[in-house]
Amino acid sequence: MTKGNVGIVIVSHSADVARGTADMVRQMVGDEVPLAWCGGDPDGGLGTSVESILGAIDQAWSEAGVAILVDLGGAETNSEMAIEMQPEERQSLIAICNAPIVEGAVIAATEASGGAPLAVVCGTAEELSPA
C-alpha cells in the first residue's frame, strides 16, 4: 500500500450530479480514497470542460492511478482529451471506467479503499454494466 489507494474522478455534465455522486461516495465508502468531481461549463450551464477535468485529476492524483467515471458523450471525449494532455508517465495510470456514473463511482471507490490496483478498480465497476 506504499502507493496509496487509487483516486476517483467524477465527470458529469451537471455540477449537481457530480457533487451528489461524490457525496454518495464519501458517505458510503469514506475518506480513504482520493476523490474529486467536476461538472458544468464555466458559465454555470450544463457541460464539461477539459480544464476542470485536468484540475480534478490533479486533485485526486495518486501514485496508484486515477479512475474516471463519466456520464454522457462529451464527458468521455473531454476526459480522453484531458488524459492525452497529461505527462506521458501519468497517462497509463489514468483509466476511464465504462460504468454507470453513480453506481460505478461507489463500486470503484469501494474497491479502491481496499487497496486494489487500477485495473481491478475499473474492472469491478464495469461488472455492473449490462452485458
Partner: protein
C-alpha cells in the same frame, strides 16, 4: 480448515448498498477467503466482491451464513458477525434514508 458462522440480520432495509459496502470493506481487510450465503446450502458468493454482495439483495430478517478459510478466518468471521449484529453501525434514521 473451513470455519463457518451465521448471524441473523435485522437491518431495516437488509443487505442493500450501504451495508454491502461496509461488509465488503471489512471482508477485504482479512487475507482469508470469505464467502457468504443467504441459505446454509449456498450458492456461496465472494464476500469481498461488492458487486456480488449487492446483487444478493438479502432482505431484512435473513440469516447470513459466512464461511472462511485461511490464517485469519476465525477473526474474519468474528468481525463480520459483529458488524451485522451492530446493525452495520447504522441507526434507524440512517436506515430510513439509505
Amino acid at each position: 480448515m473451513m470455519e463457518e458462522a451465521s448471524v441473523f440480520m435485522t437491518h431495516a432495509i437488509g443487505l442493500h448498498a450501504r451495508p454491502s459496502v461496509k461488509l465488503t470493506k471489512l471482508a477485504k481487510t482479512f487475507t482469508a477467503k470469505i464467502e457468504l450465503s443467504v441459505s446454509g446450502e449456498g450458492p456461496w458468493i465472494d464476500a469481498k466482491s461488492i458487486v456480488k454482495v449487492m446483487a444478493a439483495k438479502a432482505p431484512q430478517d435473513t440469516t447470513l451464513f459466512f464461511r472462511a478459510e485461511g490464517e485469519d478466518a476465525g477473526a474474519a468471521l468474528e468481525a463480520l458477525k459483529a458488524l451485522v449484529e451492530r446493525d452495520f453501525d447504522e441507526g434507524a434514521a440512517d436506515a430510513a434514508n439509505a
